[in-house]
Symmetry: C2
Subunit: 85 residues, 2 copies
């Protein structure tokens, strides 16, 4: 079976986010005065195969923990769906 | 009204993604042989205020086009929801 996973990695709320502050500054200087806060994160789409949806989820959990996110300062979540082909 | 927007920016399918290839290489070398493809993107959470949901969406559309994404090589999409406080 083939699966498509969408992985979202965000900084924990207490961690400083200079990239987000820079984006906010850019938006304000472009005239978007309605912006209150920006938090920057990462997004990844991963195609993988596996015997079952549960196996794919277990694999993704391990990938996030070992490589895709830094569990000390980042949170992660993912969605997995089966795809054809 | 206060709104929370989740913005996803991804490279267009035809654009090379060296960051995604590097992540894929890292996952394979960690033993995740089930990985077929990785595409890397950006994820942002933006808090903003506005008179209505439609106005917030228009603002976000302009932000994405002007700063958050490069429309030549990137696609973007966003979700907006109203929040309290």
């Amino acid at each position: 079976m083939n699966y498509l996973a969408k992985v979202y990695v965000t900084l924990k709320p207490t961690v400083n986010d200079p990239q987000g502050l820079t984006i906010k500054g850019g938006l304000l200087s472009l005239g978007f005065g309605s912006v209150q806060e920006v938090r920057a994160g990462k997004y990844m789409e991963i195609r993988l195969n596996g015997a079952s949806l549960n196996e794919a989820k277990e694999q993704l959990q391990a990938m996030c923990h070992q490589l895709l996110a830094n569990p000390v300062i980042e949170d992660y979540r993912f969605e997995v769906e089966e795809i054809r082909g």
